[in-house]
Amino acid sequence: MSLLRRRRSTEFIPAADRYPVEPLAGALLEVTDIRTHFETSRGLVRAVDGVSFSLERGKTLGIVGESGSGKSVLSRSVMGLLPKNGVVRSGSIRFEGRDTSQLAPDDQRKLWGTQMSMVFQDPMTSLNPVMKIGNQITEPLLYHLDISKSFARETAVSLLSSVGIPEPERRMKQYPHEMSGGMRQRVMIAIAIACGPKLLFADEPTTALDVTVQAQILDLLQAQQRERFMAMILVTHDLGVVAGRTDEIAVMYAGKIVEKAPTRTLFSQMRMPYTEALMHSIPKLSNPSHTRLNVIPGRPPDLVSPPKGCNFSPRCPYVQDKCRKEEPPLVRAEAAGHEYACWFPAGTPQGRAALERNVVAGAMSGVTAETVRVGTTPIGGGIKSGTTTTAPSTEGST
């Protein structure tokens, strides 16, 4: 059993009191039509291209998608972590009803320092290697909250123990390299929750960890979230990770949300062929050995010159002429809160008819999805970096 299960945390949760809070009903976070484009030598990289969603207090939103689909850029856009230069952005981000771009710089700092915080994939690069763990936790506390040094220390110790770190007093004096990957991620979580945020971003928080440790860290995030009534955005490429641990899931493809639904609805009634293809390409434990996997041919589009019409059309088994000409808008499905962007949605009569037409046409031309050749065009994605692609020296490739 993880320590977390045994230890109930009783520690003080600091209120980030100086940030002007409006006791509002309604969504905690409201993102409307945000676009984040990067200027590069190859042209404009449309990393995030018109994304809208909202998140209620205490809820968890999962964001899934292949490498390079824009998950991290989306998180960074909301977190105010974009580079200063070479970025073109638009759209609005409202937190507790207030437009974050309209806040005074001081309030912005307060917002990003205390109200929203982030856990990254690689704790080693986000922790300071030459600073003791203890100081790394007390620093933001002292900066953002009006508390004494000794109280900050006490708080840090109790935070460490609440994230399941044994002997927290001793660990306070250690450096990151003296800890395992799982321990470091626990420290990152302690830092992220230190100022009592209302929203926690977790960008691939367990991708670098082993499966047994991954389960521990996901449990920890969930427990902390419940205890503190935080909203959480869990970014991952692993549909397994989001399936059991989110209220809602947004699927991203080429900088856009292509399907969004309450978690159970998404898995039982997926409409977007991309979501379906992603699901089907995962090897399942319940399948017998040597089960042929369904593949998505090709790879995600180049975000500098995305295809005309639907971004998924070059890879989609349902594709029709219309898809190559007109971009499908995000529309509501029957189920509450379910939206998707597709002209011939899976699981509908139109979708079935489209798929059938393609199967017949494919049989005639001898082309099946799997025989589509790769290697004739220069690169796109493919590597599951799970890391945050910041400065793409390789020109838009991920």
């Binding site: 399936a243 641990r245 995962i282 040597h290 790879r299």
Partner: protein, 332 residues
Amino acid sequence: MAGSGTAHLRDPADTLLRVENLVVEFSAGRNRKVHAVSDVSFDVMEGETLGLVGESGCGKSTTGRAVMQLPHPTSGKVEFEGVDLASLSGEELRRTRTRLQMIFQDPISSLNPRRRVRDLVAEGLNIWNIGDDASRDAKVREVLDAVGIDPDAAGPRRPHEFSGGQCQRISIARAVVTDPRLIICDEPVSALDVSVQAQIINLLEDMKARYGLTMIFIAHDLAVVKNISDRVAVMYLGKLCEVGNPEEIYAAPAHPYTAALLSAIPVPDPLVRPREIPGVGGEIPSPLAPPSGCRFRTRCPRATEVCAEQEPIMREVQPNHFVACHFPIAPA
């Protein structure tokens, strides 16, 4: 020691590769040693795929490299095609490598960035002077084509112009070009997106059928390993825990570590609550000072004093299902 024994080995006459009591230790200075692989035995039959699974640092790659004699193991025997590889001279050993190939995890950095795809793939043929120019060229085209890379378009280009999935295809072409009998794939899909991972897994299955390959498939993802393997070996901290056929092991894991691994896998189905079965706490201990007795005992929910004192030895619990544990989980 923890988790040794050879009860799971089959008749040497039937196996292409037989590894007995493999030990690999690295010096870590000040008289300390990394016990990376400690008395591991396994075998692979012709045409079989053995899946080697375990968490990072448990010794999977070291085992794979020790089979290749990269470097020579500290002790133990590696018999390939009935020949003890340790007995071979440097030249003979290098020659063996045309029949015993390895594919690595990081597809891009494992290819020399300065060389063209065509030359990278032809390397094995050129080193051993296999065939004449024309037949070599034809062979390179054939294998590139087989892995789904257009030889004309891709041949003159260099690795950095390709995606991770494409580089992995090129590595596979490179490995099969010398007509090997056994390929050791060390986490060949771990760095890839799920969609590309599926493409590469299917490709490896095709290559196996087409070139009559035998494979050792190393991975940390149990679902991936199950999908591709005929036999699975679960590894923990330099030791084997459990060996058997994948259906049986996954349906009824007998070793507490296998059970913990299986319960920790996130299932892509929201109706399955995560962690219904209790997982394990803690993390893998340091291989500098592995626990006495059973190496899993510090995290094992079933551990007793016996586990600290005596190393469990591999034994058969069901036909063709072997486990190294004093208190294996009985099938339900």
